[in-house]
Symmetry: C2
Subunit: 311 residues, 2 copies
């Protein structure tokens, strides 16, 4: 949910003992009266916003709809269990489009051992909309939250950032296995997935943890696609590859905070096959986001990324 | 989900031991490794299909989006626990519309002790879409399914049918309390909520239970609104009040099958304050739907109701 809306909603709702984690994290955690708790996340994808139906293979759209939900379960270090899937199919496409969406998501569901529990299939005159609600179970380490970061923690990320629009936003592999492995082997204080932009999402993690962060600009792992975008002459207001890495949405990498010594060990061991782990800064007590350049100069960093504009 | 699509999906998916009930009932039942199981249902409502934003108070729309989900939990005789709510808000309305939707659903959430666990708030150039996924827990009697009807069972309904479009489709009270009370006090074999039309939904229950049904036409409780619609000169292809009762969607009443003697006792006792219980027919072994008129003549009844057209 968007920031201001969540703020309003939280104030409007108050607390509920059945919610171990309520609105505001990557997913909710429900207390059901017995262990295990249930991790729940929901994401709605719309034509023209999260994909363009006329330009994309519907199978990639279906796959993405599931992948973004699995990424939210990864953010909580939860084991995927099942999903329910609602679709609003344009009349003209109907049944066939629905089948293609499912054919696109089923291999990913199988890869991540996620059952399709049900859904709601509709057709209408409007554009394609898909909503998936995903269920997972925390491991014995408990769910990984945004709110656990502590001053002195290293900020750690998987993979590289920026330029996702060139293809990764469809084809990324949700970091479920990586999150579970790291959560089991290392002490993680806080975590989330980067869906709206590295700097924006880091600012949200800091807000949830009531702290600030220093980012080491020369340590940010920049994706090849970010360089490609920066070099492109089609882009009107030219941005550097680093700008793209800091502000582009849909990287779907993990953003973690880890005690400094533990983070050093993690980076030394590089336990994830094919997925690099990088320390990109540290958590500080002072609220706000700061950039530290190669020469050690510190400046305020304005969080940038993807935000739905609500009026 | 729509019939053909579910049929395709079931065949495509196979079974999964983590789904005690998969696609095809009013809700899914997830096995989470320990009791209680979780009952899960999801419903997507779209502008122009389930409501008309330009003609309706957004609060009633928000309320309806929650009420249809609670009705599905009632259909399973589950105790509501919580919901997650996704919205796609038209840019022009934005934040204020989101607030009104929530203001409309929060009193109902409170009435039925349902926590708001989270959601996904989006805005776009398209029409308003709301998706709610609701969670409930079965009672010690277990979830009430569509598949338990047996030949000889009486067919029992709550309330009256038809003409919901005149207002009830917004303002109905989901039969959660009624379902829980009946499930506790009486032996219920099968149940569902009537959302797409009495005759169509009954045919689905029969299909799930591999049986048929005889409806006693003169026993169908007809809502005042159905009489109003039938008497209206605005309606082009005029239908009788009974036609409306058999085929109109969104009654959101309970349709139950109950051992005959138990059903007689239930009707005698009328245990639901303000909500009549009526026997409207019986389950038979022979597949198909049949109408029996006041004179005892039996004819084939074509199931009618609301079906999304998928091509």
């Amino acid at each position: 949910m968007e920031r201001e809306f969540i703020a309003w909603l939280r104030q409007r709702l108050g607390s509920d003992s059945r919610l171990l984690v309520g609105p505001g994290d990557d997913a909710a955690v429900l207390a059901l009266g017995s262990r295990p708790e249930l991790v729940v996340t929901t994401d709605m994808l719309m034509d023209g916003v999260d994909f363009v139906l006329s330009e994309a293979d519907p199978r990639r759209i279906g796959r993405k709809a599931l992948a973004v939900n699995l990424s939210d379960l990864a953010a909580m270090a939860a084991v995927p269990h099942s999903v329910v899937i609602s679709v609003a199919l344009p009349h003209a496409c109907g049944f066939a489009l629905g089948q293609e969406l499912f054919e696109g998501l089923l291999p990913l569901a199988m890869e991540f051992n996620t059952a399709i529990a049900g859904g709601d299939t509709n057709s209408w005159d409007g554009p394609l909309v898909i909503n998936i609600t995903a269920f997972g179970t925390p491991t014995t380490q408990g769910p990984l939250l945004r709110s656990g970061a502590q001053p002195g923690d290293a900020i750690v990320v998987t993979g590289a950032f920026g330029g996702s629009i060139l293809g990764k936003h469809f084809d990324f592999v949700p970091r479920v296995r990586e999150a579970l492995l790291l959560h089991e082997r290392y002490e993680l204080h806080a975590g989330m997935d980067v869906s709206d932009g590295l700097s924006l999402d880091l600012s949200r993690l800091c807000e949830a943890s009531r702290c600030g962060a220093e980012l080491l600009l020369d340590r940010i792992p920049i994706a090849d696609a970010a360089h490609t975008l920066a070099a492109s002459r089609d882009v009107k207001d030219s941005q550097s590859a680093l700008d793209h890495a800091l502000a582009d949405g849909e990287d779907f990498e993990l953003l973690l905070t880890v005690p400094a010594a533990e983070a050093e060990r993690m980076c030394r061991e590089q336990p994830l096959a094919g997925v690099p782990i990088t320390i990109i800064g540290q958590i500080i007590a002072e609220p706000g986001l700061f950039a530290v350049d190669a020469a050690g100069r510190r400046t305020t960093l304005t969080p940038r990324g993807y935000e739905h504009k609500l009026q």
